[in-house]
């Protein structure tokens, strides 16, 4: 039996090409994911180990002690550092302060990625050097006005020792002299972040307060364990400060990294899974057609004594061979892709990289899993046709006719499909009524049930679809009519081929609907109530220094253009016994800058000791207009406010809002999350430039008009969508292979007919058109189903999100949906190119006689 199987595989090489490719692509996706994430994880693990090489015990401020003023955290002072340094268990002690530091490149733009541009202090130890940083050129910073940059950032920006570097910590621009360049093992720097070092006093002034550290780390004396050192340190700690051993920090970091990578891996695996699932349809189709074509041959084997089981097994062994060969090739291709990805990400940007250095990790598990999945998916997909092959009666060998196209009643199938689809749709509907956390799983379950039901029903659904396009096809003359008949001839095959396309396009459409609706909702939350011309904030959403406010207000005098400026200060406070954030706004002008929607009361009481509260918080605490609330401010001072308005929260305004005149006296430093600005003549290039100039063209600050905010929201959603489209592309490509596969095989199957059609006068163009139209019918059918399901899933997703965020409304992106159908048309035409050419080139005489 095995020899026959082997002969079959080699004899049908050409016809198995698409099947092999489908398995190969799915497995390549899978193995690339596994290898890439393993490599990623290994590189991060190494770099995080190095980051903690100088830490045996770390002291951090911890939380504010109960009863003290809100927001106050225990201070890590110079005295504490000395206390720790005096412990016999401690060898070297380092105090560090870190914070956000944006560096402007020579072109004025922000250098590095916004999130990992940090500043810190250079802490010279007893030997005068900081063991964490190796000075490569120049020297370490010693005085205010001097900085040192990590080597990679220096190379990327082109700054040389002696240059003046513009940078910003909390808004205002600082001009510092670059006195040195260093190298470090720091994980974030290795991952492409920027690190600027100041002398300790300057760093403390910028990031904390003079004499205060944000972390103190100690290296143990020889012979002292991390635990012993920690126990000793605990004795000298102020209340509320917490300690960690270096090992536990490294472990925590490893767990965090692992978590991030697991998330990435599972996301990628979902898409690899979709691609493999789509491949199942293709594989099943191939084996169904191959066994149908070999009916007589298989029947002959049965007639001469092969058992059912032997026939089934021979088909399965064929699948095993294909799965193994394609799986191996796919695995190798996947490792190649992972290597390319690594290289690509490594060379991302000009010398900057997001991945720490490290070798490509090909684990045995990744190899085994990829191969096993390739083989198992192929065999599982071939299982039903293999069983059908086993049921071919021996007498079929004698009958002159081909095995009749499976005309078995579809009644059972349709009933099962209808029940599944109805149950799925009902579950999705039920899910939309729930809250997000439960609802997402219910909808996910319902969606997959509905999808399965629809797959089962596709043969039935293909009829009305084809009936709907029949008038169009009839107008295409004979090729159109013939294409229609061919598409109807084997509804199961048409359905399976179209289904493969349905999956990818349903997910694409669903995601597009949700993303478009999200964009609108996010945009509404960010801009709908905004009447200011500009929102000024830090690039990393940190707080702005009060100098920014003052500088913008000063613009007024320079240009005469700025008419209203208000900060949105967010500070921790205790209100009526619960900790919450207070938002301070300038009550005098806020009405010109924001128009919140009030459910009760109005803005008017805010200037006279009133407070505004968002509807959610009000409902949670049972507050309403007129409720008087005791407030404890960050400095421990007490006050009392009366609610004068209840509003709908947005991204800009939320929580309890009071006047800055009430709040500011209680603040040591007046910072602002953002500053709203109104100009006399509305947003303009000149007004924006005036504000940017007033802020010294700071690299850390964003000045955005309403339009800019909308654009950046739209941009981030588009980037995310494109990423998802990219991941789904593989599933669509496999589906296209499926269409090609079906067409190629049906051309082979129908070669006698095509030969006859050519003989009685259908020209090559007509034959090509016939194949192409059949391809179009299949792909448009798949796309219509996919788009329909996608819109439904999208609708359900938006309903679910709307339960949490009322701003969500269903937005149907008609343009993109039309694009999906256009894509299906292109797929139809492209998939038909090769099969249509084969059909048109068939040798007429051989083809006629093959019947």
């Amino acid at each position: 039996m095995f020899r026959t199987t082997l002969r079959n595989v080699t004899a049908h090489k050409g016809r198995l090409l698409m099947t092999m490719l489908a398995v190969l692509l799915g497995v390549a996706f899978l193995s690339a994911t596994l290898v890439f994430t393993d490599t990623f994880a290994e590189a991060y693990r190494k770099s995080s180990e190095q980051s903690f090489a100088y830490v045996d015990v770390a002291i951090r401020p911890g939380r504010a002690p109960e009863g003290g003023p809100p927001g106050a955290r225990p201070a890590l002072t110079q005295d504490l550092l000395h206390d720790v340094a005096r412990l016999p268990e401690a060898r070297t002690v380092i105090g560090s302060v870190t914070g956000f530091t944006a560096i402007a490149g020579k072109d004025g733009a922000l250098a590095g990625q916004g999130w990992s541009t940090r500043g810190a202090n250079y802490y010279p130890g007893p030997g005068g050097a900081d063991p964490r940083y190796a000075v490569a050129r120049g020297r370490a910073p010693q005085n205010a006005g001097e900085i040192m940059l990590d080597a990679r950032s220096a190379e990327r920006t082109g700054y040389q020792v002696g240059d003046t570097v513009r940078l910003s910590v909390d808004g205002p621009v600082l001009k510092e002299k670059l006195v040195g360049v260093f190298t470090t093992d720091d994980g974030e720097v290795a991952a492409g972040g920027t690190l600027t070092l100041f002398d300790t006093a300057t760093a403390q002034r910028l990031f904390a307060e003079p004499g205060i550290f944000s972390e103190i780390t100690a290296k143990a004396s020889p012979g002292a364990s991390q635990v012993a050192l920690r126990a000793a340190v605990e004795k000298v700690l102020p209340e509320g400060a917490v300690t960690f051993t270096g090992d536990s920090l490294a472990r925590d970091q490893a767990v965090r990294v692992e978590g991030t990578i697991n998330d990435l891996r599972s996301t990628l695996l979902v898409f690899a899974g979709i691609a493999l699932f789509v491949g199942v349809f293709l594989i099943a189709n191939t084996f169904t057609m191959l066994t149908a074509q070999r009916t007589r041959e298989l029947a002959l084997l049965r007639a001469i004594g092969a058992s059912r089981r032997q026939i089934t097994r021979s088909v399965l062994v064929e699948a095993l061979l294909i799965g193994a060969v394609a799986g191996c090739a796919g695995m190798v291709a996947g490792i190649g892709v992972a290597a390319c990805l690594r290289g690509l990400i490594g060379s991302f940007g000009s010398g900057g990289q997001v991945l720490p250095d490290g070798p490509l990790v090909v684990s045995p598990a990744a190899v085994v899993v990829s191969l096993a999945v390739g083989v198992l998916v192929t065999m599982a997909a071939a299982w039903p046709p293999a069983r059908r092959a086993g049921r071919i009666p021996p007498v079929a060998a004698m009958s002159a006719v081909h095995a009749p196209a499976t005309s078995r009643s579809l009644v059972v199938r349709n009933t099962v499909g209808a029940i599944l689809a109805a149950a799925g749709a009902a579950t999705v509907l039920a899910g939309t009524g729930m809250d997000f956390d439960e609802g997402q799983y219910v909808i996910g379950l319902g969606a997959s049930t509905l999808l399965t039901g629809v797959f089962v029903l596709t043969p039935l659904l293909s009829r009305p679809f084809i009936a709907a396009v029949t008038p169009l096809l009839r107008r295409m003359g004979a090729p159109g009519k013939l294409a229609r008949e061919n598409a109807l001839r084997n509804p199961r095959r048409t359905a399976a081929t179209a289904s493969a396309l349905t999956i990818g396009l349903a997910v694409i459409t669903g995601l597009t609907v949700i993303a478009t609706s999200s964009r609108e909702a996010t945009d509404a939350r960010a801009t709908a109530t905004l009447s200011a011309d500009y929102v000024v904030r830090m690039g990393n959403y940190d707080d702005l220094s009060v100098q920014v406010e003052d500088a913008i207000k000063a613009t007024d005098r320079v240009t005469g253009g700025v008419t209203a400026v208000s900060p949105l200060r967010e500070v921790p406070a205790r209100v009526a016994g619960s900790n919450m954030f207070l938002t301070g706004v300038d009550a005098g002008v806020i009405g010109d800058l924001l128009r919140p929607e009030f459910t009760r009361g109005s803005l008017s009481g805010l200037g006279t000791g009133g407070a505004l509260v968002d509807a959610g918080t009000a409902a949670e605490h049972g507050w309403t207009t007129g409720t008087a609330l005791p407030v404890t401010f960050p400095d421990g001072g007490h006050g009392r406010v009366t609610i004068s308005g209840v509003y709908q929260d947005t991204d800009l305004l939320h929580g309890l809002v009071i006047d800055t005149h009430l709040l500011d006296p209680h603040l040591r430093t007046r910072t602002a999350g953002s500053v709203l600005v109104k100009t006399a003549h509305g947003p303009s290039r000149a007004a924006k430039d005036a504000i940017i100039d007033a802020l010294g063209d700071s690299p850390a600050i964003l000045v955005q008009s309403k339009q800019d905010v909308s654009t950046s929201i739209a941009h981030s959603i588009t980037v995310m969508l494109n990423l998802l489209y990219g991941l789904l592309a593989m599933a669509v490509i496999v589906a296209v292979l499926g269409v090609v596969n079906t067409l190629v095989m049906s051309v082979v199957e129908r070669s006698a007919e095509i030969g006859m059609l050519r003989a009685i006068g259908l020209d090559r163009g007509g034959v090509r058109r016939m194949v192409r139209l059949e391809s179009l019918v299949i792909s448009l059918f798949g796309a219509t189903l996919g788009a329909g399901l996608g819109v439904f899933f999208g609708w359900a997703g938006v309903r679910l999100l709307a339960a949490d965020t009322p701003a969500y409304r269903l937005i149907l992106p008609w343009g993109q949906i039309a694009l999906v159908l256009a894509l299906a048309t292109v797929i139809g035409v492209v998939a038909a190119v090769w099969p249509a050419r084969n059909a048109a080139r068939l040798d007429m005489l051989t083809a006629i006689q093959s019947g």
Binding site: A478, E753, M756, L757, I760, G761, G766, I848
Partner: protein, 263 residues
């Protein structure tokens, strides 16, 4: 599509009855090159007169099928000339040959070659559909009545017997009123009764409808339905017989065979 064209060709067939429907003149067909070179037809000259039923006979490998394929524009000609009516086939492009087959030639194949997805009626009008021509209703009814399929028109090929399927194929060939019908072993897959029926229809189409038919066969009984039998051997026309009977055909065949062996 263009009724005037059909009328014109009909008129021409009336005025030029003396001219043959198809002519092969020193027709040569060579397959392969060098050592694998095989001469299938070696200067064959034969005329297919209008309104005549010609059978082409010969042992396997005599070139009878090749002759038909070349005459019908299914295969390219290596040398000499083949004409359908006035039209020289040599040098025609694939497109022109396709048009020629579509508009002026009818086919009946051994394996019936019907489209399983179309009904009998749709199969019959298929060549007209391909040409985008409207069928001549009266003529179609006449053809359908002649082959006795009036009550089987909505059936699909799988629901018809072999004989019925081949009658559908004959009707399909007749539907477009071609200048000549080529039939390739039309009874090869049929039992003798069904075969006799099909052959009867072919003969009737010649006698009663004025059709021209050329049929390749190796069956002396089938050949006896023809007006004339042309014998081929080794790519040459070796003999011709008018008003054949099964016995005379068999006799000639035997002689050809022995002659073959002797030569």
């Amino acid at each position: 599509m263009n009724p005037s064209r059909t009328t014109a060709s009909h008129a021409s067939s009336v005025t030029m009855t003396t001219r043959p429907a198809a002519v092969a003149d020193k027709l040569t067909k060579v397959y392969g090159q060098g050592e694998t070179r095989v001469v299938a037809l070696d200067g064959v000259s034969v005329e297919f007169r209008r309104g005549e039923f010609t059978a082409i006979m010969g042992p396997s490998g005599s070139g009878k099928s090749t002759l038909m394929h070349c005459m019908a524009g299914l295969d390219a000609i290596s040398g000499g000339s083949a004409r359908i009516g006035d039209l020289e086939l040599t040098g025609l492009s694939d497109k022109q040959l396709t048009r020629l087959r579509r508009d002026r030639i009818g086919f009946v194949f051994q394996a019936f070659n019907l489209l399983p997805t179309l009904t009998a009626a749709e199969n019959i009008t298929l060549p007209l559909t391909i040409a985008g021509r409207r069928p001549d209703k009266a003529w179609l009814d006449e053809v359908i009545a002649a082959v006795g399929l009036a009550d089987r028109l909505e059936h699909r090929p799988a629901q018809l017997s072999g004989g019925q399927q081949q009658r559908v194929a004959v009707a399909r060939a007749l539907a477009g009123r071609p200048e000549i019908i080529f039939a390739d072993e039309p009874t090869g897959n049929l039992d003798s009764r069904s075969g006799a029926e099909v052959l009867g229809f072919l003969r009737d189409s010649v006698r009663e409808l004025g059709q021209t038919v050329a049929m390749v066969t190796h069956d002396p009984v089938a050949a006896s339905y023809a007006d004339r039998v042309v014998f081929l051997a080794d790519g040459h026309v070796v003999d011709e017989l008018r008003e054949p009977t099964a016995a005379t055909v068999l006799d000639r065949m035997k002689r050809l065979d022995t002659g073959d062996r002797a030569g």
